[in-house]
Amino acid sequence: MNTDQILIVIAISAYIASALALFTYFLSRENVAKLAGIPFAFLGCITQFVELGYRYESSKIWPLTNLYGSLSLFAAMSVAIFIGFALRYDLWFIGGFVQALAAIFLAYGLTWNEGYLPAVPALQSYWIKVHVPLVVSSYAAFMVACVTSVVYLIKYYAEQNVGRSSMVRLRTAAAGPAGAAGLQMQALAPPRPRSIIVGDAPNLERAAAGGSALAGWLASFPSLAKLDIMTYRIISVGLPLLTVGIITGAWWAKEAWGAYWQWDPKETAALFSWTVYALYMHLHTRNAWRGLRSAWLSVAGFISIMFCYLGVNIWISGLHSYKM
């Protein structure tokens, strides 16, 4: 094994260890698990950047000219962005998902590792050092945002389900003796929330108080409003990165191909993803769109990002397809 491979193995192992620990934290809320997961997250991320730097130093070939290099950066950046948000907003509980995805993407990237291949003339430009890291970092941010949205959706639908099943109970009870129905009514009348962002899953909280361990666990997630705000903040990092990424790409295209926009599949797919996230930003200003619909938009946005990133590279040939 050469130094390169050793570093990659360390990074993947660190991500797996951190994913396991942070999943344990997600499930158990044991602080020990969180404290065990954090150093591994740092270790994996730092090792990956060292590996990318080492690769560049030893070969003098910019490592982001193929899918292997860009997937490596994608994994490293998603962990870096996650760590940034986790430190600032205590977001560690979703770390298991992010770390597991980073490990999967990095391992998948390895299958595209062809060794050291110098860049074709079109890629021999300083723009590659600006454009690719920006775009890949935006993808990474959207990945983390997608994870917070998925957690939102899990909690949201659990809340709805618990609500629905207690409605059924209420109806059954109402059909029975009047006294029992009255009692149930009282139990179900939602307590007025003290705050608008805490306690926005009253059904889960009630079920948890009633002894349901699952509901208790779900209720212990951050509030829906907080998850929504978190997603918004992460997308606020991703969208400007994608915007600058597209602009620098267009500028580069002007220099390499003579036209800054040629509607090649990658450009079109990136523009589509950009529009989805711009739509997210627009609609997030509307009360009715914050929360559930925004979460779905963020998930849809990430699906479109994955298509733009991997789908276009692997399935469709175009001006960008030499990136493989």
């Binding site: 291949l117 962002i197 267009a250 390499a256 509607w263």
Partner: protein, 409 residues
């Protein structure tokens, strides 16, 4: 290569229509929605009805309390404005008020980009040309003369995990260019380094091998042979017959078995010729250079030597500076509206009705709105109310939430 064939979209009425439509929508949206929503006038609100609201009860004289409230916000970097509305004195405190214009700025950037691309459509042009080494071409739109003195390419065999890859490393045109001033300049054109000649940019786009072809019938030169070397994709008819021959592509290396080797460098070169009978393709053959192909009826096509040619694209786009500026403005607007949370506080100071005559009590009511909803500001608001209470300390004896939806204490 899958392209969406929208290259000429800038010239289509549909494109113009869409741009016009978007601009109209944006203008409408900006004036009908964005400005009113983002830059709301200073107006009275029903504090108790607001989701983010609090009430502090304080003791002291009105002027001092008001002064303290104002001082508190000014020190916190808030823009404080006072208005008397309906006989009540309101204090409005705004944070990041300037960032409210972020959305407008982003949209201005978008308009600039649209104007810039439209300028290209109106005054710009683009095209491409292929110049065979040793020959010259004049660009019709600009009159610039390009003579290709030499063309070089470099392709390296690289061993990768899945075998040898022949990777293009560089391709370079040595040109003699004559622009408007009539001066001949010797310049080098390579990928990613366009040349600017009289405001039009020229790009190294591609290259290929031009090949000389001869035609004989029964061993004697026949009519129909092309007068100049052909570029890949070009063809010629065969004398008086219905047949024609197309020079499909150049093959750098013919391997020992007579097949096409993956090495594109010109080691043992040949060409792939396709023969047509009328419109019908009757087959393709790989012919080594210097050999000839029997195409029937006594006709033979002689494949001569090759010369490299350089594919050059050019583009004149007067809208570029505006598009660049637009991109910058768009981004500035995006950052303004994403990273700053413009919030407005509505503050009023009212006498408490239940207060004993000798000890006047006042209630400070405050409510907050932001451009991104209430939830995102709740924690900051709670901290702010705490701080305000502290600032009035010694005088605040009881904090009572004005709305059960939000508790201060």
């Amino acid at each position: 290569m899958l392209r969406l064939h929208l290259d000429n979209i800038y010239h289509s009425p549909a494109y113009l229509g869409i741009i016009g439509f978007i601009l109209a929508c944006m203008t409408l949206a900006t004036f009908r929605r964005v400005i009113p929503a983002r830059l709301p006038p200073l107006r009275a609100v029903k504090i108790e009805a607001m989701p983010l609201a609090a009430n502090l009860a304080v003791r002291g004289d009105e002027a001092t309390i008001r002064a303290r409230v104002e001082d508190f916000f000014v020190r916190g970097g808030w823009l404080v404005r006072k208005r008397e509305l309906g006989g009540i004195e309101w204090t409005f405190a705004d944070k990041f008020n300037w960032a409210r214009k972020g959305v407008l700025i982003a949209h201005v950037g978008f308009v600039l980009i649209a104007v810039g691309t439209t300028m290209y459509w109106k005054w710009g042009f683009s095209g491409q040309t292929a110049i065979v080494a040793g020959l010259a071409q004049t660009i019709p739109e600009t009159g610039a003369r390009f003579q290709l003195d030499r063309f070089n390419y470099q392709i390296e065999p690289i061993r990768t995990k899945s075998g040898i890859v022949y990777q293009p490393i560089d391709y370079v045109s040595q040109l003699e260019i004559t622009g408007h001033d009539g001066i001949k300049r010797h310049l080098t054109l390579r990928v990613n380094h366009p040349l600017d000649v009289d405001g039009t940019l020229y790009y190294q786009a591609s290259y290929g091998s031009a090949v000389d072809f001869g035609v004989t019938k029964d061993g004697r030169p026949a009519s129909g042979a092309p007068g100049a070397a052909l570029l890949e994709g070009e063809g010629f008819p065969l004398g008086q017959t219905d047949r024609s021959v197309q020079y499909e592509r150049f093959v750098g290396t013919i391997d020992r078995n007579g097949g096409v080797s993956p090495d594109p460098r010109a080691n043992n070169p040949g060409v792939i010729l396709t023969v047509f009978d009328g419109d019908q393709n009757i087959g393709s053959v790989l012919v080594p250079l210097g050999r000839s192909l029997d195409v029937g009826n006594g006709y033979r096509v002689d494949v001569g030597s090759y010369t490299l040619y350089s594919g050059i694209q050019y583009r004149h786009d007067p809208g570029i500076p505006l598009v660049g500026l637009g991109a910058f403005v768009l981004l500035t607007g995006l950052c303004m509206s994403f990273y700053f949370l413009p919030a407005r506080l509505y503050v009023r100071v009212d006498p408490c009705n239940d207060s004993p005559e000798d000890r006047p009590r006042w209630s400070i009511g405050l409510a907050a709105t932001t451009v991104k909803g209430y939830e995102i500001f709740e924690e900051q608001f709670a901290a702010l109310v705490e701080a305000l209470r502290h600032a009035q300390s010694g005088h605040a004896f009881q904090a009572k939430p004005s709305d059960p939806a939000f508790a201060v204490s």
